[in-house]
Symmetry: C2
Subunit: 132 residues, 2 copies
Amino acid sequence: MRLTSEEKEAIEVVDFGLNILEEVGAQIVVYVNTGRVCAKEIVLFPNQTCAEHRHPPFDGTPGKEETFRCRRGSVELWVDGELITLQPGEQFTIPPDTLHWFQAGDDGAVVSEFSTKSRDASDVFSDPRIVR
Amino acid sequence: MRLTSEEKEAIEVVDFGLNILEEVGAQIVVYVNTGRVCAKEIVLFPNQTCAEHRHPPFDGTPGKEETFRCRRGSVELWVDGELITLQPGEQFTIPPDTLHWFQAGDDGAVVSEFSTKSRDASDVFSDPRIVR
């Protein structure tokens, strides 16, 4: 993965306000996020979990649609209570407004996310303690 | 780049009907192409050119918007007559309905494309001999 120096400085370290980053969190590089399209890399530590959330409708759209493509390591993705395990080269598309969470395997994970526009502040988390 | 066996079988070799693939063409893996989002990898041979085209409006949208991110090699991207050179880790977003073409450098190129929905049959090429 090659990043510009601006991108390296802009890596988001997300701990969801829980302060247990190594267990619950994610490290994110946003490549592009226009009004229509977003692409990110999500890097997860071994067994690190991204907390359950959904992307609700906004502005007359059905909400953010995300395709997760595993690039390295492995990831267990739970979508509406169903488990999808992704190995490198495997992917899954999460419909808008659908609860999901995911956890890296023992070797961590690198996951590409291809989606409609990201509006992180609109995300709805199941854990009421979480602030995004 | 890790691909599933289905993806390997579905690699598109595009010669635009010109039958000079090594000079004008592209090799494309489509990861996802939903009604809202598309992601591809485009692999170019050394100095291979993707012919000039634009993505016109359709269905009340302004047309396809594309972000090209260079992953390996290098690519010269011409957008509305302006040259943008991309090295690994660099990217550029092409507005909808804007003429563009691109050519790999001497070592070829791997370019990720993040975009709105692809409708290749709607693309408008400057060379009237081209069939996509």
